[in-house]
Amino acid sequence: MAHIWRRHRVLLLTLVVVLVVIIIITRGMEPRVWASILLSGVTLAALYFLLASGLSLIFGLMDVLNFAQGAIFVVGAYVGLSMFANPRLFFNTLPFFLAVAAGAVLAERYGVYLWRRIHTKRGRRIVWWVLLALAAGILALAVRNFPIRALNAFNVTAVGGTVPTAEAQEPLGVMFRRMAILFVGGLPFGMMLAPKERHEERPRRPAWQTISIVVALLAVGCLFLVGRNVGEQFVLGLSVDMRFLLALIAGTLAGALVGVAIETVLIRPFYGNPVTQLVLTLGLSIVMIDLVELIWGEEGNPPMQPPSFFSEACRSDSVFAWFSEHCRSVDVLGRAFPTYRLFIIAVGVLVFVAVGLLLQRSRIGMIIRAGVQDSEMVQALGINVRRVFTFVFALGSALAALGGVIIAPFLGVYPAMGGIFQLQAFIAVVIGGMGSFAGAAVGTLILGLARAFGDHFVAAGIDVPFLETVIKGSPAIAQASSVLIMAIVLLVRPAGIFGKKE
């Protein structure tokens, strides 16, 4: 007992202080107010957690601060929204990305032969810039006059309504031409990614693998184009629930793919160079948000229609009644609480349990935990740790994108939301301890609750004992609460709650 006190006295003292503060805040508060604040806080925490868990895993394993996490979250949200409300946009743009990817994969495999012909460093640098200009020029040419606004306009009209006609879609011939040009535009891009110096050359994929990947990408793209009308009618004909499920899958998959692309193209060449990686992801996040605004417009979208499970216009008396009634809100100690938020909490808990099990029980989880401490030693055991890096990056990005999709029916979708949620997720990771999965969970829980209590403090004020007055905070306080908490935690434990001292 005594030595526990000696070793953790700062922590224990802080806990006591926190408890006293909470008791003061909640003193005289009715249980129903208490409960609804708690639930709101946990809802926010679940959303923060979907971003923070990926940030923490990626930082822990690869020492990469992924500033693009918020942008991936936004991309996930928009892809999900498109799948849900405007599959036309989805079917008409996805093949473009596949075409560029196909060109890049092909050129990356055979780019070595180009670089081997150029013998001077200066020459290689000039060729690199020429390729960049070429790629940008061809890509710009390929998407010139593409009716993106008109496609986007269906977003609102198509919600739940009848299937619109084929207007605003370009004829298939034009689309195929665009795809062909984009494929060509992907070629210089892929060459830029190919190993340039002799000693950078690595064993290459067998030719048949490369060709099959390229053909598969192009084939899927063409299939989407040819089947775009059928596909659109099919998706819009589905029930809201099925479309929501599709949105979840599409958004999460898109996040995973974006993650893989970022890791292989931008992060992998710069391991051991964290500042470069940080600046690259930061720059990329700005570009991605601009791209999102270009495709989907700068103005936000109102909350998406939630699945029918959460949308009946009634109020259930208990969670059990809700299972049969599917009401929009449920009675929690006499106060209405939106049931969709319970779903968000459930997703957060599910992800926590699933990723926790993956880390603790599976071989890849074991490798991740070992790699967090010493990835070089993991490699020395004969494990291809780079492949694990890519997997973790994809996983983290997929979770962020999943967060983006499930937030859509709750807060709507707008380009700026990535920055807001990313900041909170970063603070949560710092509070919990960089690289600690449990820390990310605890950090987000603290922040979510603090935010909910802070908002209540602003709206209703706190009854301070002995002063006999009610003190109300300004909205700035509620927003600053997370930073304040971070400052306090870092003063007590500089490495975060679960952080390890270096």
């Binding site: 000693h199 690595r202 064993p203 071989r363 074991m366 490798i367 935990r369 070992a370 967090v372 401490q373 010493d374 070089e376 030693m377 993991v378 490699q379 020395a380 055991l381 004969g382 494990i383 291809n384 740790v385 780079r386």
Partner: protein, 234 residues
């Protein structure tokens, strides 16, 4: 007698520093070969270069007759090279069992080798569920060596196994290395000349990034001149 490992004139850079300026060495099958030299001579970098953790820019490395330089480290290790790094580098957050299990290259490696491993290191069996970080320094060293024994490795690279250990523990580690050398060829880096001279059959001395002398350990022990010149006191 075949050479398991042949290193020919490798040059390794770390950042812009030219660490190895021409190291050559041979590791004959079934022997313990010691790499000797002063602090900072490039002994650890030599091991890391063999494994591809710090890939050499020039020179060649042949393992089992196959040229391996330039391949990624995980591929080189999978060919049958075990690595016991300095400071042990066991995974502190993983249990002893997980520390062994993670080294498996085929499913069931650990089960197949368990008798041999726990025969050499009976202590580990008792500690199997403990986190690696809770082990003492000597136990961690045992675990690091045991980890390299889990897959079928033909060559073991062992870096400073006696570092920071009490004399009694050093005796145990030496005994373990002697036992496992019956099963695999060993390339040993060791500051402790007495330990190295008792264990090794052959030696190579590295001085300022160059291999300067190699031969039979039995001859070196009597060669006071060489010992004084390259290894300082002894």
């Amino acid at each position: 007698m075949d050479n398991v490992l042949e290193v020919r004139d490798i040059h390794t850079f770390i950042g812009q520093f030219h660490i190895l300026e021409g190291v050559s060495l041979e590791v004959p099958d079934g022997c313990i070969t010691a790499v000797l030299g002063r602090n900072g001579a490039g002994k650890t970098t030599t091991l890391k270069s063999v494994l591809g953790l710090t890939p050499p820019r020039e020179g060649s490395i042949a393992f089992n007759g196959e040229e391996i330089q330039g391949q990624p480290a995980h591929q080189i290790a999978s060919k049958g090279i075990g690595y016991v790094p300095e400071h042990r580098a066991i995974f502190r957050d993983l249990s002893v069992e997980e520390n062994l299990k993670i080294a498996e290259r085929k499913k069931g490696d650990l089960a197949r080798r368990a008798d041999f491993i726990f025969g050499v290191f009976p202590d580990l069996k008792r500690l199997i569920k403990l986190p690696g970080g809770n082990l003492s320094g000597g136990q961690q060293q045992m675990l690091a060596i045991a980890r390299a024994l889990v897959p079928d490795n033909r060559l073991l690279l062992i870096d400073e196994p006696s570092e920071g250990l009490a004399p009694v523990i050093i005796e145990q580690v030496m005994e373990a290395v002697r036992q496992l050398s019956a099963h695999a060829t060993v390339l040993l880096v060791e500051q402790n000349f007495i330990m190295a001279s008792q264990l090794a059959d052959r030696y190579t001395i590295i001085e300022a990034g160059r291999s300067v002398k190699s031969g039979m350990m039995a001859d070196l022990v009597d060669d006071q001149e060489t010992i004084r010149r390259y290894l300082g006191a002894a």
